[in-house]
Every structure is written in structure tokens, then in C-alpha cells.
Symmetry: C2
Subunit: 520 residues, 2 copies
């Protein structure tokens, strides 16, 4: 098992070197125009971290430990505020115990121990939550239940195109295994490298494709979870209308209803027909109109990702004058020329221009995808060089989009007080609206980054809610989004969910504080 | 308000004449080969029906009544067993009161009265349940809460392509209103003419299209429902990942969690590009392989409905030697030639042959759709001429399909004891499996039809469950499917749903007995 860095995105041997951090400072100064202070701060090494002692003795099980490195590694997710705290060696609220069950039998013994000992259980997949979903913030004694050893593909059904996969398997492992059958899950969230199938299901993750089945919700055939009151496992079916969907109640349950251990998911052959183009638009809103037309045309592009001019400059080599649409089609079955032709016709009708259509892999779209998956590595340098970063994402209907975008961008700019930038792209598009994704960058007030981040987050979240968006489209609720989530969800639904949780988790041990209040 | 027939599908002035019934007897003899007994039985007129007296005094509200015609009209859904009982004048378990609220304020007063008086409330849309969903079977005092007066389109958003529609609006009214904007909901269940938006959402209805967004689940943007503990209304959003979906908990709730009063739904322009063909296959299983290939190719046909040879003969003028695939594509945006060409290539590769491709409306597919929507009218004749009919539907993954089909068909044939036929078609197809729909016809044992039907239903349901299917894909659970549903759904989920219901409906007044047991 490769060891993860105790503070940075990635493995321990991938932590950025001083030279890489200096290069990142120069790059970010150039693309943002910020005057960074030139200081390169050093991370606090794991050995220097002082942890509070465990508040509970671990169960006498060989896969449970209170070893400090393990507790440190399971304290945080991968939000910017997690990165900063870990970088500075601040691990005030670590889990007391880390458990790595090798099978469901092991897992059930941990749940029994936790219920009897009144210990909170936080299911931990790849630990990539950016919303405080795996952090024992303010909880009592806690065990982090790491699913990493449940990491195998159990069955592949090539006829129905589906696979049964354990919840703790990481993205690259899934794809490697399926690739041997010529198949892919085709689910590429930005956390792909370090996140797991179970985590995707628990948080309703979104892949990097732009339309149709890009949400894990739609890729799930059935789910198996262990609750303190037994096994919650649905039948494996292509579709069912037998009452409320048991799967849809686990999707987005964020570890509060049960510990997901495996799922049947839909897979597909790897595509061998492709077409892509990078289309420039005179403005973000003109580009948005093109995206609306394309997403309402029934063409279902694999990529339809619009970047505003500043975001295109930051991530895709744009010159800062044009919005950029990455438009792509792909198929494992048929050439996609007819699809691309019509997509480009619609783009042209809204002022789009492009240089070439590529029909092989690669191109600007592929370069963008690579950069997208490398982004967390670049971010590792931010605490050292003095940058604050926040990304937030939402969804809103088309009729509200321009006013929404203006209001949210304005509110964040006000919070930044002139020192920082906010950019926007579409993470997904639906026929009835886009899922905008905002990136905020600002020079850090050294040592005060968390308060700075909190101010940005609060302003953004208030604006999103006021202008009709959702507090999260695919990052989940966790602990960071709770105040706004609580205002967004219907009250009777909240009462129903609380009661549902109590029915399967009467002691309230499962990930207390996410979705529903910590029970008394 | 047009008056519905007290026993037949349709309105009172559409009940079949003696001449139509005689013609139906001749037609059904010819297509089934059954020797019917030649008797034409007469329905018991509404005036001759003797109802038990109401067990509760209605609330002093002008829209509540105990008038016998209203109680009769709200006693049953539209299952074959409902048709037979109504035809024979058997209304043993009618609701005691019928309420027709004109707005949510009225509706809340009915719920308050019912909770205080411990009266069961059955939300009633168009009364087209085929699973006992609206029938007060074995309940105590009951009010049938007819949503028919909540029947308006409240808003149309042409930019996002969505509309806010009241729950009690019938299919044709919805399409008429949206048609004035050049739009359609494009949701055509077989009950379309007499069923409502609220009913579709409560039962997770399926439209007659074959792929992609044909389930009402996927057409819903947000739902508003009244529970005894307040308003359950989600934000209108194109997508959200904020925890467990509140909408997905109402979808399929069958009136047990709340009374749906309105919803935002996704609409689309009416298509003006079409291509369709009727493709013959040497066998149903060869046709199924073609459908699998087409549904896994990412082409998303609007129609991809495979009929076995007997079903093709019954409903579509087939000669009984070939399975028949109705393959169709449609678009409001672009010509669909490239899509159709590839679909037919795949059909040919699996032994399919066809005479012509039609690019205008009409054709065999359109004829099939008309026949599909007329089918309930033909069925009106069955009690009179002595036919038993049952239709059941399910879904199963492709790897299991041939064995599943053989087992289910065999079990139903055994139950029929040689006197009857069973046919199969695909109601929908998913990339990972079909949703097969079975039709059973047999000569009736006059007066004993219900026991005969029960035997067929039991055999079919047992076989469906044993062979890996779902007890229902789009007909819902209601009261008829409960025994098999209870074996299918995970136990912890059932406990969670029961608790969720209790949280919003502590007195247990909402449609007692569907999904969860009647509370003590």
C-alpha cells in the first residue's frame, strides 16, 4: 500500500519539491497578476505533529490502530482549508482509532464495537471530501473506517455491461481492471486518482463528462450497504418502479445511513470514434446560449464545457479575450460526424468560431482533461506560496442563469475586496440548466487563511442560495455546507430523513453531523 | 366535468354498445383461437349497486360528499379485477367520503379533519391504478381525496424548457396547454387519457417511449407535496447533489408520505424530424439481441419496442411467424437519418429485415401507439364476453433475460393449464436490460374470474421474483404487489421508510397499506 502524503494531494513521494513550488509561484503570479510575497513556507513534517491522545481504547481487532501516522492521515479531506491546516501541522480533531476491515465480517465487528462503546464511525473511502465529510470535527470518540481493503472487482457481466465492484476501490484500479475487458466505468471526477466507488455513491459524485450519464447516480444498478440494523442491499436491476428507490436513498447519504460495501455499476466499451473542437465565443453569455442550444438538441456531447475568458486563460492557454467551449463527441459504436456537424452549426449560430475539428484523441479537450486531473497537484503549492483558493459549484435553470452568475460573481468580488479573481466554467449541462463551477483565487493573509476562506465561502454560499441555486451540485454537503443545506431542504423531508436514520442507526454512530444534526 | 363510467375504462358516454361487444368477441376469438361461450353478459347499472352506508360523517366542507355515485366512482382503479367487480356491481369497500379540494388550503382542511377523526386518506388522481393503489381495501373509514380540481398549468418557462403543473391535471390537458407553446411533456403511459401528473409521480410511471427520459422520474425538476406535518417542496433545479434527493423520496411514495399538489417538469419541443421502420426477426430472442445492440450503441431511439410473434399478431397485424421491432427516431432539432441508418445496420446484423423506412409521421409505429392507447377500451368487453386478462411487467438484466423469459412464460402457462395464451413485448430498454411486459389472456370461468386472475397473478409474480426480476417496473406496488414487494426490498430500507412515514404522517392516515404495513 503506497503511503499518502500527510498534508498534500497525492502520495508521500509526490510532495512538491522546493523547485516545483518556486515554479508554481512564478506561474500563478503570471496568470493571476497577483504580487505574491515571495516567501516559500515549509510544511510541518508529520513527525513534528502533536496529536491529542486517543479518547478511547481501540477494539481488540488486528486491523484497528491508534498509530499517529494513521490518525493524521485520516483527519482531513482535501478542501483548501484541510490543506492549510495539515500544511501547518494543525491536527486538533483527529480520529481516535483507524480501522481497515478486510471484509464485511470485520466491518460489522467494528460497527458493533462502536455502537456498544458509543463511538462515532466515519466511513472513509479515499479521503477526498472537500466539504468536511470525513473530518471528526467537534465529535466525541471517533473511529475512521477506511474501506481501502475492500478494493476488488468481484464480477464483470459483459453481456449486460455491468460490474460488481467493492466500495473501497480507487478510480484508476477500477479502470485498469475493466480495461482488460475492453470496458470503462467512464466516471472521472477531479478526485478520480484518489477517490473510491463507495465515496462517489455516498456523495453523488459527478464525472467529467458533460451530459447524460455522468453522475454516479445514473451509473448505479444496485448498492449494498451495512447498517447497524442489517444489510441494505437492493436487487440488481436495469430499472424498477417498486416504490421509493432504495438506491436513491443511499445515494447522497454521506455515510449517515450505512457503510456502502459494494455496488453493481453500468460500464461501457472504450470509445474509438471521437470528434472535438475548441470553440471561441465573444462572451461567456453568448457561449452559454450556444451550450443551451446544444444541450436542448438531443445530441448528448461527451464534452460541452464552457470556460469564461479568465478561466480559459488560467487553465487552457486562452488569451483572456474569448470564452472557450470544449465540444466533443465520442462513441464505441459509430462515427460521430453527424453529431459534431450539428453541434458546430448550433455553436456558429451563437457566434462561435473554431480552427479545426479533431477526430483522433488528444487535442485541446484532452489537454484540458489532463490539466483538470493535475490541478490538485498544482494546488499543493498554494499554502507555501501564499495563495487562498476556493472552488464552489452549483446548478441553476437557464432562465435564471445570467442574473445568477452576475449576482454570485459580484458577491464574491465584494468579499475579496478587490484583491483576487473569480472565474466560472460549466461542469455539466442539462437541458434545463447548467452546473456552473466557480474558482476563487486571492493572495493569502499569511496565518489567517482559514478566516479568509470562511469569508469567501460564506459570501458565495449566501449568494448561491439567494439567487436560486443549490448549495452543491456534486461536492456533497458534509459539514461545511450544512448551514445552507439546512435552509435549502424541505423541513418535512429533513424530519423523514432523521427518522429514517434513527431506524437503521438508533445509536446515531454513523458520521454524526452530516445531513442531520448530531442526535442527543 | 365529464362523468366517468362506473365500471368501464373511459367516460360514461363511451361504454361499449352491445354491437361493439359482439364485434370484440368475434375479434378476440379470431386472434386467440379461444372458443368463447357466446354469452354477452350485461353490466350492473350504477343505480342497482347497493353500497354500505358511510362509516363516518363528512366534514362540513362544501367539496366533500357521501353521494353514492361519487363513492362508487372512487372505489376502484382500472385493474382487470377492478373491471370485473365493477361490472358485476360489487362495491363492498367503497370510500366513505369523497373530497374534491379546489386548492391547497382546502386540501389541508381535509387532512386536518382526517387526522383528528382517524380517517384514512387515499389521494386519487385519475383512478387508473392497476395494482389496487386507490382502493380502500379492508381499511376503516376512508376519504378519497380527488385532486381533479388542481388541474392547471401554472407557469411555462420556454427558456429552460420546463413547466409548473398542478398534480390533478390529466395527460391530454397537459399536452394541449403545452402545445400552445410548441412544447410537449412527451410522457405517454397507456393510461395517458385518464391519468394525472401527480399520479405519475406517486407511482413512477413510464411513458411509451423506449429509451432515455421516458420515466417520469427523469422528467421531474421539483415536487411540492402536502404532508400532515407541513409542505414538502424541493427547490427547482436542473440537478443537485445536496444529500439524499427529496424528490426521489416522493417518487414512488404512492400517497403514503404526502399528497403531491404540483411539480416542475421538463418539457421539449414537438418533434418534426422522424424515421421509423417495422423490423421482422426470425425469433424473439434474435430480436432481443438486436435490441440489446441498439440500446448499448448510444443511439437513444424514441421507439425500440420488440413484440414476440404472438403479440405482433394480436396487436399489430403480424402473421404470427416473426417477432416485430418498432424502431423509431425523432428530433425537434435535426434530421435523424444517421441515427436510423446505424440502428438498422445493427438490426440487420442480428437477422432483421424490413420493407421500408418512413420519414413522415404515421406508419406501423404510430398505428401501434394508437392501438396501445385504445387497448383499455377493447378490454372493457372482456367481462361481458368471458375473457380473463392480466398484464404484468418487470425488468431484468440482459445476461438473465432468455432464462427469465422462459421461466416466467412457462410458469404462467402451467397456471393456465393449457387454456390461454401468454405473450411478451419490451416496454422499455436500458443499456443493461429490457423491461418485458407480459399479456395473459384466457377464457373465463364465469363468476370465478377473480380466483382465476389471482392464480395467474400469483404464478407470474413468484416466477418473476425467483428468476431475478422486479415485481414492477412501472405499474407500482399498490396493494396487489405488496407480498412480493415485501420480499424484494431490503429490510433496513423498509424500516427506514416506515420511520420516514411516521415522521411526516404520525397518525398513519395517508394511503394505509401501500408500501408499509398499516400502522397499529
Amino acid at each position: 500500500m503506497r503511503r499518502r502524503s500527510h498534508w498534500a494531494w497525492g502520495y508521500a513521494n509526490e510532495e512538491p519539491s522546493r523547485a516545483e513550488i518556486t515554479a508554481a509561484a512564478e506561474l500563478m503570479s503570471a496568470v493571476t497578476g497577483f504580487e505574491l510575497d515571495g516567501t516559500i513556507e515549509e510544511p510541518v513534517p508529520a513527525e513534528a505533529v502533536r496529536l491529542p491522545p486517543p479518547r478511547v481504547a481501540p477494539p481488540a481487532l488486528p486491523f484497528c490502530t491508534t498509530e499517529p501516522h494513521e490518525r493524521i492521515a485520516h483527519t482531513y479531506g482535501q478542501a483548501y482549508r484541510d490543506l492549510v491546516r495539515a500544511f501547518r501541522g494543525r491536527f486538533d480533531d483527529p480520529p481516535d482509532v483507524v480501522a481497515r476491515p478486510g471484509d464485511e465480517h470485520d466491518l460489522i465487528r467494528v460497527l458493533e464495537w462502536a455502537e456498544n462503546s458509543r463511538v462515532a464511525v466515519i466511513p472513509y473511502g479515499g479521503g477526498t471530501s472537500v466539504v468536511g465529510g470525513v473530518e471528526p470535527r467537534g465529535l466525541g470518540p471517533t473511529v475512521s473506517l477506511d474501506l481501502g481493503r475492500l478494493g476488488r472487482v468481484l464480477e464483470v457481466d459483459e453481456v449486460s455491461r455491468a460490474a460488481r465492484i467493492q466500495a473501497g476501490m480507487l478510480g484508476p484500479g477500477i479502470d485498469r481492471h475493466l480495461g482488460a475487458h475492453g470496458l470503462t466505468l467512464r466516471h472521472f471526477p477531479q478526485s478520480y486518482e484518489l477517490s473510491t466507488l463507495g465515496g462517489w455513491i455516498a456523495t453523488r459524485a459527478g464525472g467529467h463528462f458533460a451530459t447524460l450519464t455522468t453522475r454516479i447516480d445514473d451509473l448505479v444498478e444496485s448498492v449494498r450497504a451495512i447498517t447497524p440494523r442489517g444489510v441494505w442491499e437492493s436487487r440488481r436491476l436495469p430499472g424498477s418502479g417498486a416504490g421509493v428507490s432504495p438506491d436513491r436513498m443511499l445515494l447522497g447519504s454521506e455515510g449517515a445511513l450505512g457503510v456502502i460495501t459494494e455496488a453493481w455499476v453500468r460500464v461501457r466499451p472504450r470509445p474509438d470514434h471521437r470528434a472535438s473542437a475548441a470553440v471561441r465565443f465573444p462572451s461567456f453569455y453568448r457561449g452559454a446560449e450556444a451550450v443551451r442550444a446544444i444541450s436542448q438538441a438531443g445530441l448528448y456531447p461527451s464534452n460541452c464545457r464552457l470556460l469564461d475568458a479568465a478561466e480559459a486563460r488560467l487553465t487552457s492557454g486562452g488569451d483572456g479575450t474569448s470564452a472557450l467551449l470544449m465540444l466533443g463527441f465520442e462513441s464505441a459504436d459509430h462515427p460521430v460526424g453527424a453529431w459534431m456537424d450539428r453541434g458546430l452549426e448550433l455553436a456558429r449560430a451563437h457566434g462561435g468560431t473554431w480552427d479545426e475539428v479533431r477526430t483522433a484523441g488528444g487535442g485541446q479537450g484532452a489537454a484540458w482533461k489532463d490539466a483538470f486531473l493535475r490541478m490538485p497537484y498544482l494546488r499543493n503549492a498554494y499554502p507555501a506560496i501564499g495563495l487562498v483558493a476556493e472552488t464552489f459549484e452549483t446548478a441553476v435553470t437557464w432562465d435564471r442563469f445570467p442574473a445568477f452568475h452576475a449576482a454570485v460573481t459580484g458577491a464574491v468580488r465584494d468579499a475579496l475586496g478587490g484583491a483576487g479573481i473569480v472565474t466560472c466554467r460549466f461542469a455539466f449541462t442539462y437541458p434545463d440548466g447548467p452546473a456552473p463551477y466557480f474558482t476563487v483565487l486571492a493572495p493569502a493573509r499569511r496565518g489567517d487563511e482559514l478566516a479568509q476562506w470562511d469569508g469567501i465561502k460564506r459570501a458565495a454560499s449566501e449568494a448561491v442560495l439567494a439567487a436560486g441555486g443549490t448549495i452543491t451540485h456534486h461536492h456533497a454537503v458534509g459539514r461545511d455546507h450544512r448551514p445552507w443545506y439546512d435552509r435549502q431542504r424541505p423541513d418535512p423531508f429533513a424530519a423523514a430523513l432523521r427518522a429514517a436514520k434513527h431506524a437503521v442507526d438508533p445509536a446515531g454512530i454513523l458520521n454524526p453531523g452530516v445531513l442531520v444534526p448530531v442526535s442527543a
